[in-house]
């Protein structure tokens, strides 16, 4: 019996050890991505510095005799593509969530949800590939666009990628609304649709907000789709029909060719840190919203 206890203690110590190694590596991510960008704060490496990333001229020309690292074209491109994706994905996904949770017959509900979640199973490379080969040609021939690969094309592909996220989270929120909310509303004489739109939807609002925030976070960081489908020119323009370059695509495209420790390298890590911070904040806010909804509906977490 004594030996067994010793064995147990060793095994438990091992569990603890392995768990702390894994947790340490996870926490190291926060350190290691930021670390490479930190020297930029006080140094000016081949024209690269934090202050320089917002100083005029507004061009992103990392590889030239006189490199310019202005991130505004990239920020604008990221926002443009993300916004297009959100404008397409949000109404579609929310309407579909409302339909599945409130109006659809039970048997239909059982296969619609897995089918839409199948969309999430498509790897983003495949989605990007589809946008690059099929969607881009279709859009160009339909609308007579000057540039084949543009922000709209990437935005649509990105919308397809974030629809399952927005849909799943908001559908869960809608179904989590307690039954007596619906029954009370119906008993007061409201129709089924009125109940869905005026009672269930507002009650699930924080969850729906969380869904949108999480979708936004995913869209900002998505790399493969925008790398392949957006054209990749760092242009300052508000038009959705011109070629666009985003933060994530810039890191992916340029990281393979930079000098380790050089200015360009550090700038790319700075862009990574920026993405990391933005998505972390969005995730955190989304989580808070979700928790707030649970507290509101059930009185506890």
């Amino acid at each position: 019996l004594k030996r067994r206890r010793l064995f147990d203690q060793i095994a438990e110590a091992l569990i603890l050890g392995f768990a702390s190694i894994a947790i340490a590596i996870i926490l190291l991510i926060f350190v290691y991505v930021g670390k490479e960008a930190v020297p930029l704060l006080w140094e000016n490496l081949d024209g690269a510095s934090i202050a320089g990333t917002f100083a005029p001229p507004v061009v992103w020309q990392p590889v030239s005799e006189n490199p310019r690292y202005n991130v505004i074209p990239l920020l604008l491109g990221t926002l443009k593509v993300t916004l297009i994706a959100m404008l397409i994905a949000t109404p579609l996904a929310l309407a579909a969530a409302l339909y599945t949770s409130e109006f659809a017959p039970t048997r239909m509900r059982e296969w619609i949800k897995p089918a839409i979640e199948l969309l999430a199973g498509i790897p983003s490379v495949v989605m990007g590939f589809f946008a690059l080969i099929v969607l881009a040609s279709f859009l160009q021939s339909q609308f007579g666009l000057e540039f084949r690969l543009n922000a709209l094309n990437a935005g649509i592909a990105l919308a397809l990628a974030i629809i399952p996220i927005i849909y799943t989270v908001s559908e869960d929120a809608l179904t989590a609304v307690p039954r007596h909310y619906r029954e009370a509303s119906l008993a007061l004489g409201a129709s089924k649709i009125q109940t869905a739109v005026r009672v269930v939807f507002p009650a699930a609002m924080p969850g729906v907000g969380a869904a949108m925030i999480l979708g936004f976070g995913r869209a900002i960081g998505e790399t493969m789709i925008v790398l392949m489908a957006s054209g990749g020119a760092a242009i300052v323009s508000l038009s959705p029909f011109v070629s666009t370059r985003t933060l994530s695509a810039t890191i992916a495209a340029e990281l393979g060719e930079v000098v380790v420790g050089g200015g360009h390298y550090r700038i790319l890590f700075f862009l990574g840190t920026l993405l990391f911070v933005v998505t972390s904040v969005l995730n955190w806010v989304g989580d808070r919203y979700n928790r707030r909804m649970r507290i509101r509906l059930f009185g506890a977490e």
Binding site: D8, E12, I15, F18, A19, I21, A22, I23, I25, I26, L27, L28, I29, Y32, V33, K35, E36, L92, A93, A95, A96, L98, Y99, F103, A104, I112, A115, I116, L119, G121, I122, P123, V125, V126, F129, F130, I133, V134, L160, I193, V197, G217, R218, G221, T223, M224, S248, I251, L255, G256, V260, F269, G272, L275, F276, T279, N283, W284, G286, D287
Partner: protein
């Protein structure tokens, strides 16, 4: 009047749902169609020839399988151990648990490109360069992009997903099971290994499958480059090519045979991620 509005709301919602499903079908059918059209055994079993305009995609398949295998070997055991620690040992109110749990939750939503940067900074330039300078006196062996670093980075990428899934299933095992086992005189560890874990196998499997499917479609920034070799690449410090990086690098070239290759690649990826 109100009835018309009501009906149009339902109709609009139904149309939105149908639209999503139609787009899904278009993507699946399109890729499966073009993929199966050109699928052949030699395409799957041969190496690319003539500057990637002919031949097959075997190196890419091999790379993907090896990468995913190595990644799961690292991610699943670690993930399960951390989940056991979170669910069984850590106190839920403790400061440590809450911070680490929040970090894990957060990392599940961080874009993979950030993990790529981390892999380059930590594994390749940190761990790899240190190994080189201590073991090989500065000769370049480990300090370059290679399959083990790719697999390690992807393991870190999938770790949060595995942890979250497994922890949830462990917590779902009823308290009575644990109490009954402890009351019979079993130790805490015995309870976990013999009672709690067998109850949550399905969760562990779900976590593993999620990890594999995310990993297979992922694009390992820090292990790829240069389309190489064949089966000889068994050494773990070689760079390799995976299906997803083959698609990406293929996209920069425009020749017609190339597009055929890409279709195939897609097909492969699909089959892989679905099973």
């Amino acid at each position: 009047m109100r009835k018309t509005i009501d009906q149009s709301v339902v109709l609009l919602c139904g149309i939105a749902t149908a639209l999503i499903l139609v787009m899904l079908t278009i993507i699946l059918v399109n890729i499966a169609w073009h993929g199966t059209e050109r699928l052949s055994w030699s395409f799957l079993s041969e190496a690319p020839k003539n500057g990637m305009t002919e031949g097959g995609i075997f190196p890419a398949i091999y790379g993907t399988v090896l990468l995913v295998l190595l990644m799961s070997l690292a991610a699943v055991p670690f993930g399960v151990v951390v989940a056991i620690y979170f669910a069984e040992y850590a106190r839920r109110e403790s400061w440590f648990y809450r911070t680490t749990r929040m970090a894990v939750n957060n990392l599940a939503g961080v874009p993979s490109i950030v993990f790529g940067l981390f892999g380059l900074g930590f594994f390749v330039l940190g761990v790899g360069k240190t190994l080189d300078s201590t073991l090989y006196g500065g000769k370049l062996v480990f300090g370059q992009p290679a399959i083990i670093w790719g697999a390690a980075t992807m393991a870190v990428l999938t770790l949060p997903v595995v942890i979250i899934t497994v922890e949830e299933t462990l917590r779902a095992v009823p308290r009575e099971y644990r109490e009954a086992s402890l009351a019979l005189g079993a130790t805490r560890l015995q309870t976990i290994v013999r009672v709690v874990l067998p109850q949550s196998w399905s969760g562990v499997m779900t976590g593993a499958i999620l990890a594999v499917s995310r990993g297979a479609g992922e694009w390992p920034r820090c292990s790829l480059q240069e389309l190489p070799i064949s089966c000889r690449a068994c050494r773990l410090i070689r760079t390799i090519n995976s299906c997803s990086s083959a698609i990406t690098s293929g996209c920069s070239q425009r020749s017609p045979p190339m597009s055929r290759r890409r279709d195939h690649c897609c097909m492969r990826q699909f089959l892989f991620c679905w099973c």
